[in-house]
């Protein structure tokens, strides 16, 4: 292979102003996620609850079409805000969100640490916040695709199937509630996955941490609740805390007998911990040895 197969030419273009370097980082992270083995399968499977709930909306709004085969009493579907809350906080959806994060977010920082790539990033005119924002945007993108997008589409289909704006007339804040919960879940999961990804230089270890912390917190909380019969132990679970805050956003009584503010504080503390650890981990890296 000979050097200089083509000559070197100076570039006569102009640099972008203002620069938003987090965008290419996010774009590349999303592209690379789709190249991972089994990611497409896991991501597709994550939309299963959306289809089930969509079918539910169709059945509830077009019940008269099925009178011949279904007794009305056996299908107590009522599309209210709590219906959307159930979708957004469904155990399966949350579990699949974590699985998707295992594929798309575990290596976001871990791979860069393992391959000494941080010095490549920071030799460019980008700040630490651009790097973190770009990486967080990857995780947030997939979480929003599983929460906000199906949530709004379900509302839209309800309007279409019912042929009226009754849902929005009766619950005008419903789209906002979906947006707020989705944003909260995206921010939390982005911070959660970046925190755990930055704790290891090995993608597999980071994957295990993302999956393990979620499952372990849930199991531990259930065991302690069972032993001590105290609802407070439910707050040890990541899943329960998200459900508590979601209930508050949808103005529904929380499933745990504990103030939702505690859950909000726990989630905020988790996100703050993630930001602090990231700040430390990235600062500690010797950019040039």
């Amino acid at each position: 292979m000979s050097i200089r197969e083509k000559g070197y030419h100076h570039w006569d273009g102009t640099f972008l102003e203002p620069m938003r370097p987090w965008r290419p980082i996010a774009r590349l992270g999303i592209r690379l996620a789709f190249r991972r083995k089994f990611f497409k399968f896991a991501f597709s499977l994550s939309f299963l609850p959306a289809f089930v709930f969509l079918a539910g909306i169709y059945l509830s709004e077009r019940l008269q079409d099925f009178r011949g085969i279904i007794k009305q009493d056996s299908l107590p579907l009522d599309v209210q805000p709590v219906y959307f809350l159930r979708y957004l906080t469904a155990d399966f959806l949350m579990f699949m969100t974590v699985i998707v994060l295992v594929f798309c977010a575990a290596g976001l920082v871990a791979d860069d640490l393992k391959h000494n790539a941080l010095q490549l990033y920071f030799a460019r005119p980008l700040a630490k916040r651009d790097y973190v924002l770009g990486k967080a945007a990857v995780a947030a993108f997939f979480v929003l695709l599983l929460t906000l997008v199906p949530g709004w589409i379900l509302v839209l289909f309800d309007l279409v199937f019912s042929g009226s704006l009754a849902l929005l007339r009766d619950h005008p804040l419903l789209p906002l509630s979906i947006l707020l919960y989705s944003a909260l879940a995206a921010a939390f999961f982005a911070s959660y996955s970046l925190l755990l990804s930055s704790l290891s230089r090995n993608r597999r270890t980071a994957s295990l941490l993302i999956f393990g912390v979620y499952v372990f917190s849930d199991v531990l909380s259930e065991v302690l609740r069972g032993v001590f019969r105290s609802p407070g132990f439910g707050l040890l679970s990541v899943k329960n805390n998200l459900k508590q805050v979601a209930s508050a956003l949808f103005a529904v009584k929380p499933s745990l007998d504990a103030p939702w503010v505690y859950s909000a504080l726990i989630l905020a503390a988790g996100a703050a911990l993630g930001a602090w650890v990231l700040h430390r981990k990235i600062r500690e890296v010797a950019v040039i040895r």
């Binding site: 050097i3 640099f15 791979d111 391959h115 000494n116 490549l120 030799a123 005119p125 040895r289």
Partner: protein
Amino acid sequence: MGSEDPVSIELRDIGFRYGRVEALRGVSFALGRGATGLLGPNGAGKSTLLRILLGFLRPDTGGGRVLGYDIVREQAQIRRRVGYMPEDDCLLPGMDAVTFTSHLGELSGMPRQEAMKRAHEVLFYVGLGESRYRLLDTYSGGMKQRLKLAQALVHDPRLLFLDEPTANLDPRGRQDILELIADIASNKNIQVVISSHVLSDIESSCSRVVILNKGRVAAQGLLADLRQEHFNLYELRVKGRRREYLEKLAGLGCRIEETEDGLLRVFVPVGLEKKAIFRLAAEENIQVRHFFRSRTSLEDLFARTVGGEA
């Protein structure tokens, strides 16, 4: 540096401490066009100096400008116009060379399509044209080295910092990279600063050196001038009681090395005439059977400048 030569790096009295450890002290120099070698033993402050030049560290004292931008206040502007080739293996896994290079071009602020076009060009330039769609994970050490050079060039920098550019390369690959560096420095109007432990690499590709020792500039300037400035090297073969003779030569400030075949390499300080060697030989009844003025290598210069402290 001639007066018509534009100054691209100008440092004044730079000082930096890591806690109690003084990494740099009173470092001042100005560099212009061409290739410059940054030399020094481990712990001399080379990496700290590079970090300051790239804007990662803020000097405790002093200041300076890189490409006309202040090293403290305009770091982003500097990084946009500077290319950096790190020493260690570093890549973004799971992608091909075109994606990798264009991504880093985008991070420098290039528009997406132009970064992609430019990535193809620089990959051809460094000799990775045929392999540009291969996954980086499958690249050999030499290919990774070329790739690092490509990513440093993608945004068409005006100044290149190369940290150990020939590490992990076989002799052929090393020669290729050195040719490239020489081409970039001499024909492409890009200034190059090379930090390397391989003195022969510096010698073959740089016309100017900055030698750091214990956080200070031990020597700097054109290589040719420095060779002349610090000492003259003579090779001698002598017969007689050489021990006393050599001790007296050392007493005059000469440094003497003896090769396996008995050849004496005498580094004579500037100001001491070569006649002194013969005069001393006559006093000690020594026959000088061979006397030759030798060209000093960079290794000699480095050893002389850094001395036994390194």
